[in-house]
Each structure stands twice: as structure tokens, then as C-alpha cells.
């Protein structure tokens, strides 16, 4: 029954009121002429209400004439009439076109890129490959060829065993399989020496293979031979054998940094004046909404991104970017000697921390103060460290 109703609704029908003396005759003529009528209800002695299809209603005129009944429409129902209302509205048509255009456009671009299977450090690398080809959020799907993208990633990103690129809906899926780097093979039949990587005082010698040429407590210079790859037998008759020297040479090393003490310190001060710029972000493009050009010469900017999240944890590529800039003024501050020294020590330490290698541990630190030629005070910071200075070098025949 539901299907019949649905069919009638789609085809469209009219509710009509037939008034006259011989409604029975009208119904009979209609049924003989293959005009389908349904839901006929007698209203009173001279009228009845019924439903008829649009086609049936058009064919009804002769029947009404013959039976002497007057027919008028009470209500038009169904899809055709519903659509007819929109036929005249121009705005509706334009809206429909715009809507379908937006829909088509929005389903034909990439909205999100998902990279799976690889270590997080590689993602920027992959993204830069994509950016080089202008592939990103908002690029057209038709222009993208997954095979070519996969090839480019495999070529330009190192240590990738396999790349799968797939476009599913409006998402670009990139699946990466990392390849395992072959281990560094130590060839035992080749002679290698251990030499010093930098100057230092040897604290501990651990030799796994080779002949040590130094003892604990000796100072070594950079490049000095520490462990020889020539293994000498205790019995001189057997001669020597070439080995791949292996070992740890822990040594004390020193790093120093000296800086002149400056009595004037430039301090950055916020003036309290701030400027707010709001951008509308769509995909990877941004459009300025409010806030004009920055009126400040020097400023610090804090960027805040507000994303709109859709249902099911979907991240929509639409959002706002708020940039809060605050004005900064540089001010020269006169410092006392103690303060100036403290500041200098801090900067020197910072510089040193950047220089020292990662595997070394700071054992001791010394701070020296001396006066230069023109009366300037210098600060020298010395770090005493312990580190492994063993460096491999192929043994050359001597």
C-alpha cells in the first residue's frame, strides 16, 4: 500500500470535488474510459470528493459534460506540482546550479592527506616532496596520478621500501613501508687503526682488537694513532696479523669559550600595544578577515589555530587563524659589573652547549676572568668533559 501511495505521489494527483445530480454516471464513464479514480467519498447528496491522476483529470472533461457534473480541483498533490512551484523561481535555479557546482568542486579536490606506516620524522620529508609538486589540500583529484606520486616519493625519500598512494573519496592516503638499513659490516680481514678524534687526556683504554699504542694518563693529539690494526703475536716467530681494531678510548677533553663582558645589555620590552589579525583558513589557503597591516616595526607574534572538527572525529580543513602581535621596543640597559659578568657567563655557556658533541659528559666547568689589552674584561668558560675519542681509519702500509 505504501508503494502505491509513493507511486501516486511521484506521478502527482489531484483531489477533486464533483458536484451534480448523477455522480454515479460520472464515475461509470470515467471507469469505462480507463480513468483511474480512488478514495471516492460522498460528501452530500449532490457532491463527492475523489482523487485522480493528472492524466486522468485531463481526460475527465467529456465525462463531466456527459453526466452534467461540474468538476473542480480542491488540492494538487505530488511531486510534479511540488517541482512546478520551483520552476518559476530564478533564484532557486541559480542556487541549484551553484550548489551542484560547489558539490562537484568539493568532491573533486583533496581535503586531507593521511600518511601511515612510516616514522614520524619522515612525514615532513614526504610533505616536502608533495609540496614540490603542488600537491596538498585543495589540489584537484583529476590531476593526481597515484602511481607517479608513489614513484616520486620512493625516489626522493630515503629508506623507503614501498610506497602506496591511494585516493579514497576526498582523502589522499599514503602508505609507506620503511626499509631496514643494512648493518655496517666490519670486515675482519681489513686492517683498521683507531686514531684520536680530538686532543685529550686518556683516562681509560678498552681494546677489543688490535695493539694499544697508548697508556692511560697520556695526552694525545688529534689524529694520533691510538690502537694499531697490526696484531703482534707474543711469539715473534709468527709475525704480525692485520685486524680490524676495535676499542673504546675514554679521554678528558676541554672546550672553552671566551667572551668580552659588555656593560650594556639590550633588553626587549613589550610596549603593551597589540594587534590582532584574523585569517580564515580553507584548505592550505588563508584569507584575511580582519586587521589591517601591522603598524609595528618590531613585534612578536603568537599564532593560534582554531579548527572546526566535524562529526566522527573528522578534521575539517576549515578554520580560523588568529595572530596576536605585540609591539617590542629595544632598550639599552646599563648593567653593574656583577650583572654584566653573569649575563656573559650565561651566553658563553649557551654557546658551549651548542658546540659539545652529544656523547660527551661534562665533568667539570671552570670560569676564568681576565683583562684584555684595552681594559676590557674577558670571561673564559672551560668545560672539562669525558668522551670516547676513538675514530676508525683504514690502516695504510707503513
Amino acid at each position: 500500500m505504501f508503494l502505491v501511495h509513493l507511486w501516486n505521489y511521484i506521478r502527482g494527483y489531484v483531489i477533486i470535488i464533483v458536484a451534480g445530480r448523477s455522480i454515479e454516471r460520472f464515475i461509470n464513464i470515467c471507469s469505462k474510459r480507463q480513468i483511474l479514480l480512488w478514495d471516492i467519498v460522498r460528501l452530500d447528496a449532490a457532491s463527492a470528493e475523489m482523487k485522480a491522476s493528472i492524466r486522468g483529470f485531463r481526460l475527465m472533461r467529456p465525462a463531466a459534460k456527459k453526466s452534467g457534473c461540474r468538476v473542480h480541483i480542491k488540492k494538487k498533490c505530488g511531486l510534479p506540482f511540488f517541482l512546478y512551484r520551483f520552476k518559476r523561481r530564478k533564484g532557486f535555479k541559480v542556487g541549484l546550479v551553484i550548489f551542484s557546482a560547489i558539490l562537484m568542486l568539493s568532491v573533486s579536490i583533496i581535503w586531507d592527506i593521511e600518511i601511515t606506516g612510516c616514522e614520524p620524522e619522515k612525514i615532513p620529508e614526504i610533505m616536502s616532496v608533495l609540496n614540490a609538486d603542488n600537491i596538498g589540500r585543495g589540489s584537484f583529484k583529476l590531476k593526481l596520478d597515484p602511481k607517479i606520486i608513489a614513484k616520486k616519493i620512493a625516489l626522493n625519500v630515503e629508506q623507503v621500501a614501498w610506497v602506496g598512494v591511494e585516493i579514497k573519496g576526498v582523502k589522499l592516503f599514503i602508505t609507506i613501508k620503511d626499509s631496514i638499513e643494512p648493518p655496517v659490516l666490519i670486515k675482519n680481514d681489513e686492517a683498521f687503526n683507531i686514531v684520536a678524534e680530538r686532543d685529550g687526556l686518556v683516562k681509560k683504554v678498552e681494546v677489543y682488537a688490535g695493539t694499544p699504542r697508548i697508556k692511560e694518563g697520556e695526552t694525545v693529539k688529534k689524529g694520533q694513532l691510538l690502537v694499531s690494526g697490526k696484531l703482534e703475536s707474543k711469539n715473534p716467530e709468527f709475525g704480525t696479523r692485520d685486524v680490524h681494531a676495535l676499542g673504546k678510548i675514554i679521554a678528558r677533553t676541554w672546550y672553552e669559550e671566551s667572551m668580552p663582558v659588555s656593560m650594556v645589555y639590550t633588553q626587549k620590552l613589550k610596549t603593551g600595544r597589540t594587534h590582532k589579525t584574523v585569517y580564515f583558513r580553507f584548505l592550505d589557503r588563508r584569507f584575511k578577515i580582519s586587521g589591517g597591516d601591522l603598524p609595528f616595526e618590531m613585534y612578536e607574534t603568537v599564532t593560534e589555530e582554531k579548527m572546526i572538527s566535524g562529526p566522527f572525529g573528522l578534521r575539517l580543513p576549515i578554520g580560523l587563524i588568529v595572530e596576536n602581535s605585540s609591539e617590542i621596543v629595544e632598550k639599552q640597559v646599563e648593567l653593574t659589573l656583577d650583572e654584566a659578568i653573569d649575563v656573559t657567563i650565561e651566553t658563553a655557556k649557551e654557546n658551549l652547549n651548542k658546540r659539545i658533541p652529544a656523547d660527551c659528559t661534562v665533568v667539570d666547568e671552570m670560569i676564568k676572568q681576565y683583562e684584555g689589552d684595552s681594559g676590557t674584561i674577558y670571561i673564559q668558560v672551560i668545560y672539562e668533559c669525558e668522551e670516547d675519542i676513538a675514530g676508525l681509519e683504514p690502516a695504510t702500509e707503513k
Binding site: E24, I27, N28, W38, R42
Partner: protein, 106 residues
């Protein structure tokens, strides 16, 4: 000429049992349901709220408490309350409403 033949045939049939046409006799012979071959009406009452009449000729009277339908076997009168015609086509008519009687030749 043709008209004459029909009249003679009609006159001949009158004497026989009503509804025993050649087609119907054939239908009985071959055990075909009667409403298929002849044009005898088939009345189907579904529950109390729906009566389906096939092979009808036309409606004679349509009131909300009584509907009379002309068929080859005479007039069928359906009485009840709030009667309406659910659907009417060339071959069948569905009557809805609260039905109390289905009478023949009334």
C-alpha cells in the same frame, strides 16, 4: 442483419438457466474458474471493511450508507456505514467502510 441474429440469440438464451452461456458451460467442462471465461461477478469480502467486486458493469447508486452495483447477474447492494470507493477501474471496484450487508437483486 447482424442485429437480428443477436436478438434471436438473446431470445434463445432467455429460456435457459441464467448465466449458463456457452462460455460458462465450456469453463465448467474444462474446470476453469467461472469468472475467467464468463462475465459473472466475483465478490470478495476481506474482513469487514473491504469488498472487492470484479466483472461489474457499473455503479447505479452511491451513497455513504449504500452502494448498488450493476453486474451481469443482477444488482449487488452493499450497505454499511461510511462507505467509500477505494478504487474503481474498468474491471474491478473496491468498496471500503464498515459493511453490514451484501445483497443480490436489491
Amino acid at each position: 442483419m447482424k442485429r437480428g441474429i443477436y436478438r434471436i440469440k438473446g431470445a434463445g438464451n432467455k429460456g435457459k438457466e441464467p448465466g449458463e452461456s456457452l462460455g460458462e458451460r465450456l469453463a465448467r467442462l474444462f474446470e476453469i474458474p467461472g469468472e475467467v471465461c464468463g462475465n459473472r461477478p466475483k465478490v470478495t469480502a476481506i474482513g469487514r471493511g473491504e469488498v472487492l467486486i470484479e466483472n461489474f458493469k457499473g455503479i447505479m447508486d452511491f451513497q455513504s450508507n449504500m452502494i448498488r452495483i450493476n453486474t451481469n447477474n443482477g444488482i449487488i447492494k452493499v450497505t454499511g456505514e461510511g462507505l467509500n470507493i477505494r478504487e474503481i477501474t474498468n474491471e474491478e471496484i473496491i468498496i471500503g467502510g464498515k459493511i453490514s450487508n451484501i445483497d443480490y437483486d436489491a
